[in-house]
Symmetry: C2
Subunit: 349 residues, 2 copies
DNA sequence: TAGAGCCTGGACAACGTTGTCAGATGCGCG
DNA sequence: CGCGCATCTGACAACGTTGTCCAGGCTCTA
């Protein structure tokens, strides 16, 4: 059979991207195209002898099924997309990993992309994933208008939002109890005698930031403490601004005696600032941070379970895929106050 | 034109996955199929008026190009794959993000998967990515035999290994100077008067672990210090084993006065153990860790630049794609010793 | 006004796979 | 020995897109 192997033997100058196809395998094995397909997919109705010949041809040619063609034919891609803010952020790593594990359990691959907190980039990414026909989409919103996803959802792309709710559309969302967690954290400080408590957080246009701020206000109000503007810093997006905000709160005639920080990045920066201060200032941070227990004092935090967020969202997504669309739901996961010392410091008035 | 919109208007019961195609758009806009393709791809040769009609139809139907079909036709997917150990590990987050940024700059998406340090899963993942016809592959090896990738590489899949070299095949690799970094770190301890220095690292079958161990031995030998078996713990894969290893080294008649740790996970565990000890033990760790500067004492580390590893690898990959295959290269990035206190403690003999 | 040349638009095949369906082969039984 | 049935195999169309190529209409010039 000199010419059944023609193509493989004469890869023209090893030209780029010339891969064997099922047709080539069929030719080499001396069987029909569909028989190869059957073998590759483990479908019944192939005699052991034929199967062996096909397997040998596959081996010899280094054939690998082209999933693009398969997807085109079958409709499903067995892959889901994840749009998050920044993979380098220690909060999103575990979340992404959890989504991946659930996907894997369902035989799907995860494609993820970082929006860098840019709504435009979020949309661009999400739509690129849809163009690749992911079966589902897990989105950590950067923007606040997700109507651009409506055609996709209508077309059957399962969609779940995590960490922050979708904007202007009705969709599944899984989030932490940001409001309650922040309220508890601030109440904890109040219970330890603080009254002048600072809040440093992200821009309130971000849902989580707004909710945590709301929790702060609620705790203060519950305790009958009027909040002064000078105690609050919103939109602290980079370390320099956080640093300045903290330093301002800690100076002046009536400095704050405790600070509540709105996310892990802010917390880390504030820890640095406090380490430089001679005074002891209490601190409770939203989000747990690694090694928080080894610092002096240990850092008291309101911890959310990033992995649980991811897992819950992914499971919800596959439920959508398995049983068709159901009414959108809002799932809220509890937070946990972990006391380690910094939140139990008394006011240093 | 009642029946040009037939399909869109009568989505049969909104059946799953029924999406408009270019054909539908063409029908609705009253133009030919190829004209729609031209508009979608921004190709020239369409009058403004026609283009407007097509755009309107696209908008109205919520059309989104099916990239699977596009890939099938064009051969390139504009996506690359990344196989790493665990996204939740703070070392890989920034690496992955760096790869993503380079990919984005080249208009490509990143698909990544975690091998969980399991060679079989690594292979499964890498081949799944190849079946999806990624243009290139960045692999952080878990296994030590990558011949399974030979057909893929021959077929034109650009491949770069990171952090550890490929096994049994000749391919591009980007790594840190693990040997030199470890040697420098240990030499640093020796320079501060230590002679009984412990080493706790991963299983030596992992290339980085073996290299760092080699660096440790070299530094000791350079200083004329014979290494005792009791000072070395390999295969410390989980916190319990690390803890036990550290405790053993620190007990007995002639305990080590300093420890060199082989990666960030080990370092963190050892820090915990040392925090419980009354004695002061010097410590230098491989890999930087967050907040290392705020601990008492600050943790001296041999830092590698995860982002630079990822960036370099991805750039190398796209060079392969742009200019065809070139001779495989081995790129080694320097490490940096960051002194913060723990590595400068004198021996507490 | 006719011819040449340009520009726009569309018909058609092909990419590699899978679902459908019908044909071929072999077997057992009457 | 012949028929029916079960089992195995392969031809063909279709998935949605893009590249090729040609047709038709337009403008411009001689």
């Amino acid at each position: 059979m000199p010419d059944t192997t023609r193509r493989a033997d004469s890869l023209p100058g090893n030209r780029y991207g010339n891969r064997p196809t099922m047709k080539d395998v069929a030719a080499r094995a001396g069987v029909g195209l569909k028989t190869v397909s059957r073998v590759v997919n483990g479908e019944p109705g192939v005699t052991p002898d034929t199967e062996r010949r096909v397997q040998e041809a596959i081996e010899a040619l280094g054939f690998r099924r082209n999933d693009s063609a398969r997807v085109l034919r079958k409709g499903r891609t067995a892959s889901i997309g994840l749009v998050l803010e920044d993979l380098a952020d220690p909060f999103y790593g575990p979340l992404s990993r959890a989504v991946e594990e659930v996907a894997r359990a369902h035989g799907a691959l995860l494609i993820n992309g970082s929006s860098a907190e840019d709504p435009e980039r979020e949309q661009e990414l999400a739509l690129a994933l849809c163009a690749r026909r992911v079966d589902g989409l897990v989105v950590i919103p950067a923007g606040d208008d997700h109507r651009y996803l409506e055609p996709e959802i209508r077309a059957g792309v399962a969609t779940v939002f995590v960490d922050r709710p979708a904007g202007r559309i009705d969709a599944d969302v899984v989030l932490s109890d940001n409001y309650g967690g922040a309220r508890d954290g601030v109440a904890h400080l109040i219970a330890h005698g603080h009254r002048r408590i600072g809040f440093i957080g992200d821009m309130p246009r971000i849902h989580t930031a707004a909710e945590r701020l709301r929790g702060y206000r609620a705790a203060m109000e519950d305790a009958g403490i009027p909040v002064e503007d000078a105690w609050m810093s919103l939109g602290a997006t980079n370390p320099e601004r956080v640093r300045r905000a903290a330093e301002e709160m800690l100076s002046g005639p009536a400095p704050v005696t405790a600070i509540f920080t709105g996310n892990n990045r802010v917390t880390v920066t504030v820890i640095r600032v406090l380490a430089e201060q001679s005074r002891h200032v209490a601190l409770v941070g939203f989000d747990d941070i690694e090694l928080a227990d080894l610092l002096q004092p240990g850092v008291t935090v309101v911890a959310q379970d990033a992995a649980a967020l991811g897992r819950t969202a992914a499971e919800r997504l596959f439920r959508q895929l398995d049983s068709g669309r159901v009414a959108p739901e809002r799932i809220e996961l509890p937070t946990r106050l972990i006391t380690r010392g910094s939140g139990e410091l008394p006011p240093a008035d």
